[in-house]
Symmetry: C2
Subunit: 146 residues, 2 copies
């Protein structure tokens, strides 16, 4: 799997989000080396507190594949997911998460809390971090300075 | 606040879910002593792994109130929420959660993991548990034996 390539797709989608007044965070879902869904944060546009990128990508993947169990999908996201989004990955049986930059506020794949590999929970998620992290961090810097 | 009354509304909604082949779990949102949203699990009907009752109730509340910050809303749910749903409560700034029966599989308000009052996360949620828990447990027993 070409992590850099698919993270590039997520970064492009995050750039789109920033241009629309959303947080510059996006996610894509990949099955069999092909992208099956892409989504960015849409809390502002949709007035929905749950409209994070990972949630959007999971819902779109389930819709396209016609099933809620998505163990064969890898999720790429530009920022380490929050607890809600790591929990959603578990609900969808996602086995692998790839993220770019760590989330120091509420990152739930190990930075603030460790939900992705919590010993008491029924599922563990393999986490790959730091893929194109400088570019993802720059997107946040651009929003803050813009 | 009459916890038993509003939990009764959630229990009725959970009964409805069971009759539709969903998990018997539901949630209602209450603002100023009035119910503003009700939702049940809809994973089967909607083919959406994120369509848990709490997520549905939060989305509906945000839509009705026209805002994503819902600190004045109390969420009642028949079962202790999973990590995704506790995380969603945090995203919506919910201050109080009331649940009926504990969730021994992935309860994230203290039973399996403690997200609701995790010291490292930016928000804490007050949790009231055990309200009409026998009735909520009976709904699960009915589904298992039916």
């Amino acid at each position: 799997m070409n992590y850099e390539l698919f993270m590039g797709e997520a970064l492009a989608e995050a750039q789109l989000a920033a241009g629309r007044g959303e947080r510059p965070v996006a996610a894509v879902a990949v099955v069999d080396e092909a992208m099956v869904a892409r989504a960015h944060d849409r809390m502002e546009e949709s007035n929905d507190p749950t409209a994070h990128a990972v949630i959007g990508a999971l819902r779109e993947t389930a819709r396209r594949l016609g099933r809620t169990r998505l163990a064969d999908a890898t999720i790429f996201t530009t920022q380490e997911p929050c607890p809600m989004c790591v929990g959603a990955l578990m609900e969808a049986d996602i086995e692998t998460l790839v993220y770019a930059v760590a989330n120091s506020v509420d990152g739930a794949a190990g930075t603030v809390v460790q939900l992705a590999q919590h010993p008491a929970l029924p599922r563990r998620i393999k986490v790959v971090s730091g893929i194109r992290q400088d570019e993802a961090a720059e997107l946040f810097a651009g929003v803050l300075s813009g």
